[in-house]
């Protein structure tokens, strides 16, 4: 032993054979410590874990407790209430939930921004507001078939479209179009209720005065707090006290304070329009936030230009195998839902990554503006089926879908 010591020239003061004995006895020391402990059940309940589960439930069982018709706006507000009357998950004003319903033999999900104040979660309630979508599948079902008392499954709050004081300016100029007002209504409520603290100027584009969503709600909030201000911009009508036309850079400058963040939410057309406006305003990326808006065939030129093709789609999901077909004009997620396959989905915009799946063979087309995949995933044939359009037969391995009756 001294040979090795000498070779290394490590001589440690004050250490003796006792140290070696101590080392030899390490197992004994551990045995003693263990034997000295109580033989009682292992605790597996931790406040941090139950808090996390309350904040981020995987699913909330809710009932449609009330339906408020939005006359003149072709929209309905659903007041959703927790089935067991417990508090609903707290959320940050601006977040959305993914609502799951069974329509025919299909399980489908759709994201809807929460339009109520976070405060209402305490008595188990959240509001969502759904606008008519001609030719749509779920919106149509919600507007015509859904009744008070029906059950729906709702995800935990999702998304990053909310005000963050370390990132965003204290002043937010919100550009809203149509049902794109929903997250801003929630933000306005949250400001009124003292939950959020920033100044919100909403430039709200509607077609006519009659078709303004939440007119009364917005009016009463602006009466209660001077941190929220609403400017209505009518495209199809000129009326006193209203702005007219489109939301332009000049209009934004007219109402914006010197320092502000721009938040945008609305239909696809609004986003295209706002691209030029943002350029004209010369705002850095940091100060512009857009809510995600899903995907449409229009966003993929190759999809809209070519005639519709039908491909074979084989799905592997855990121990299950499914064979179905997929249209080149629809996403792989829709193809799976049509076939009654329960596939995971939340944002349906390519952004949240919840539907991430592995292509074992085949090719797809992904609109660049919806391609939020991780770098490596792009190199390893991992895709987000909610924004992937097939361009060949496909074999796809898909994570298990969130069970409807979890």
């Amino acid at each position: 032993m001294s040979g090795k010591l000498a070779k290394l020239k490590v001589k440690i003061r004050n250490f003796s054979l006792k140290d070696m004995l101590d080392f030899k006895n390490l197992p004994l020391r551990r045995d003693k410590a263990i034997a000295a402990a109580e033989d009682k059940d292992i605790n597996t309940s931790f406040p941090i874990n139950s808090n996390a589960a309350r904040l981020h439930p995987s699913v909330q069982k809710m009932v449609v407790s009330r339906i408020i018709e939005r006359d003149g706006c072709s929209a309905r507000t659903l007041v959703l209430k927790k089935e067991d009357n417990s508090p609903a998950a707290w959320f940050r004003a601006g977040q959305y939930v993914s609502v799951k319903m069974k329509i025919g033999s299909s399980y489908v999900t759709r994201p809807y921004s929460i339009s109520s104040s976070p405060k209402l979660t305490k008595d188990g309630r959240i509001f969502i507001t759904v606008k008519e979508n001609p030719g749509g599948f779920v919106a149509d079902f919600i507007l015509t078939e859904l009744k008070e008392g029906d059950s729906v499954l709702v995800s935990g709050p999702e998304g990053n479209f909310y005000h963050d004081r370390l990132r965003d300016s204290r002043n937010v100029v919100a550009v809203a179009g149509g049902s794109g007002i929903t997250p801003f209504l929630s933000m306005a409520y949250a400001i009124r209720d003292g939950i959020e603290d920033f100044n919100l100027t909403i430039l709200f584009g509607s077609r006519t005065e009659k078709s303004i969503l939440f007119r009364n709600e917005l009016d009463s909030i602006t009466e209660e707090t001077d941190k929220v201000r609403v400017v209505h911009v009518l495209s199809d009508e000129e009326a006193p006290l209203f702005e007219h036309g489109f939301i332009t850079a000049d209009l934004i400058r007219k109402y914006a304070p010197s320092d502000y963040s721009l938040f945008i939410c609305g239909p696809e057309g609004l986003y295209r329009h706002m691209e030029d406006v943002v350029k004209e305003l010369g705002l850095p990326k940091r100060l512009v936030r857009r809510e995600i808006i899903g995907v449409s065939g229009r966003m993929v030129s190759s999809v809209s230009d070519t005639p519709e093709e039908s491909y074979r789609l084989s799905v592997i999901q855990g121990p299950y195998r499914y064979e179905t077909t997929a249209s080149s004009k629809e996403t792989l997620l829709v193809a799976m839902e049509r076939a009654g396959i329960l596939a995971p989905a939340k944002c349906r915009s390519g952004e949240c990554g919840w539907c991430r799946s592995k292509i074992l063979s085949g090719t797809v087309c992904i609109p660049p503006q919806n391609d939020f995949r991780r770098n490596m995933d792009k190199q390893t044939e991992h895709i987000h089926p909610c924004v992937s359009f097939p361009t060949s037969d496909i074999v796809l391995e898909v994570p298990r879908g969130d069970t409807p009756d979890a």
Partner: protein, 522 residues
């Protein structure tokens, strides 16, 4: 729904670093393997997420034991042997440490990686330490040789060890604090060398010197590395390797419990149904495995006592602010990959302050990925994280409605302190921000209190003692927990090694069960 589920030799529950590596090693030995993962992604901690135009790593600061292509370390070799071409990027320096020495004098020192370089810098900062530092590094070498002998899962011979690794045996039962003192390292030197304590989550008074020697000497001498495309790169590479070896991996598939037949594991109950198997590895914290997933009559009194002796003292609960900034790191004046900002150089006091809660916690680490990896984010931008520890004091009783405001307040304090201590001002440049708290880790990983290091590797439960009791710690037939809480401790490298080690043990046991000894095979 009446599908008959396939049977497997081994089901691995959890696709974390340990689980993925174990599955691959089992597949390579010809076993039929299924991995079930409750999340929709592989990797556990080793992952990434997208915010706007940025991809952010939720956990990795740096990986130990990678080494250069010329002098590969065990982890690089592990991936090389699997034929996985990882884009390893070197992290040039070990760290910069800013704060005060124990004697109150200001500390601002950048420690380079590489033994010679480090000793050089130390000599400049604390003149007259060269000889002592050289001695310390020789001791590291001997200890690591000894550790390799003790921790391969086979029996050891104490006489052989005395002959070859006497110094390891001498220091083996002692804490870093005692050994550093015995080596008569000047206090300033000890202050600097203590900086890495946080990567193991245990202060120097309770951290085994052997554990320190194993982890820290690798960081310091081999230098650290990161994968170019975040740690998701590692996890996807392993996920794909696993498939190519014929393994299956089921995502969003939670395992609820383990099934037993005559006190021997017979299957795993999952959300898809019961899956029969001969063996199961659980990449799940021990307390969850034995406290929740195994029938009470299977859990031995020693396992219960072990858990209660550990008193639910979990290692590090992380609090991390991830920031994507709209200016380059040069413009922000960030030149170091990692800056440790110390509340105090005394790790025992620091640890106690951290545990008291955020108000008394003055410790944090700034990491800027672009310093090592210029393409970590788009041109003209950079990604930083500021990390500290969370304490149950703050996170146990917080109300969900106060959560966002509290975590934002904590993040603001970290950014403010960064500005005060280093002049680096991130305010006004934040394009994306994500704040991960112990709640976040509890949500995604399901670990107790959102811990990421398993049980503290301290005192009687240090990794050396755990290794010496490998034979005793796994009394349940056909089931072993693996991961950060295991015999290799926390950290990516340790978890991969743990997965490999445990897979080897399982392969041996399975072969014994099948009556074919390993000799007969080879």
């Amino acid at each position: 729904m009446d599908l008959v589920l396939p049977e497997f030799d081994v089901v691995v529950v959890g696709a974390g670093n340990a689980g993925l590596m174990a599955a691959i090693k089992l597949l390579q030995a010809g076993k039929k393997v299924l991995v079930v993962e409750q999340h929709n992604l592989p990797g556990g901690c080793a992952s990434s997420y997208i915010r706007g135009r940025f991809e952010i790593d939720p956990s990795l600061h740096e990986l130990a034991s990678v080494g250069s292509t010329a002098k590969p370390g065990s982890i690089r070799r592990m991936f090389d042997e699997l034929g996985l071409d990882i884009n390893w990027v070197p992290v040039k320096d070990c760290f910069r440490a800013v704060g005060k020495y124990s004697d109150g004098s200001p500390m601002d020192i950048t420690i380079p990686s590489g033994k010679e370089e480090l000793i050089e810098v130390m000599e400049k900062e604390v003149p007259g330490t060269r000889k002592k530092m050289e001695k310390l590094f020789r001791l590291f070498d001997e200890v690591n040789a000894g550790l390799a002998y003790f921790s391969d899962g086979t029996n050891y011979n104490i006489r052989y060890a005395i002959k070859h690794y006497s110094n390891m045996l001498i220091v083996g039962s002692h804490s870093c604090k005692i050994v550093f003192k015995a080596l008569r390292l000047p206090q300033k030197c000890i202050d600097i060398m203590s900086t890495y304590w946080s990567y193991l989550g245990v202060d120097m008074g309770r951290m085994s010197f052997l554990h320190y020697a194993m982890m820290v000497s690798s960081y310091m001498t081999e230098g650290a590395y990161i994968p170019a495309f975040t740690s998701h790169e590692l996890s996807v590479a392993l996920e794909d390797k696993l498939r190519s070896l014929g393994g299956q991996i089921w995502f969003n598939c939670k395992a609820m419990s383990f099934l037993f037949d005559n006190a021997r594991l017979s299957g795993v109950r999952t959300v898809y149904g019961d899956i029969k198997c001969k063996y199961a590895l659980a990449n799940v914290n021990e307390d969850i495995v034995y406290g929740r997933m195994v029938p009470k009559e299977i859990v031995t009194p020693r396992l219960r006592r072990l858990s209660n002796a550990r008193k639910q003292k979990y290692g590090a609960r992380m609090f991390t602010v991830h920031l994507a900034l709209d200016v380059s790191r040069e413009a922000l004046g960030i030149n170091d990959y990692s800056i440790f900002m110390l509340g105090t150089a005394d790790s025992e006091t620091e640890y106690r302050n951290i545990m008291k809660g955020f108000d008394s916690n003055n410790f944090s680490i700034l990491v800027c990925y672009n310093v090592a990896n210029p393409s970590a984010s788009p041109e003209g931008t950079c990604i930083c994280s500021i990390t500290t520890f969370g304490s149950p004091v703050d996170w146990d009783n917080l109300k969900p409605e106060d959560y966002a405001a509290f975590k934002t307040k904590c993040a603001q304090k970290l950014m403010t302190r960064l500005k005060e201590q280093t002049g680096i001002d991130l305010f006004g440049h934040v394009e994306e921000i994500a704040i991960a708290t112990p709640w976040t880790f509890a949500r995604y990983l399901g670990t107790p209190e959102g811990c990421v290091y398993g049980h503290e590797t301290a005192d009687w439960d240090d990794i050396i003692s755990r290794n010496l009791q490998l034979g005793k710690d796994y009394p349940v037939k056909g089931l072993k927990p693996i991961g950060a809480g295991g015999p290799r401790g926390d950290g990516y490298s340790s978890a991969y090694q743990c997965g490999e080690l445990m897979a080897q043990m399982v392969i041996r046991e399975l072969e014994e069960m099948d009556g074919t000894s390993s000799e007969a095979r080879s």
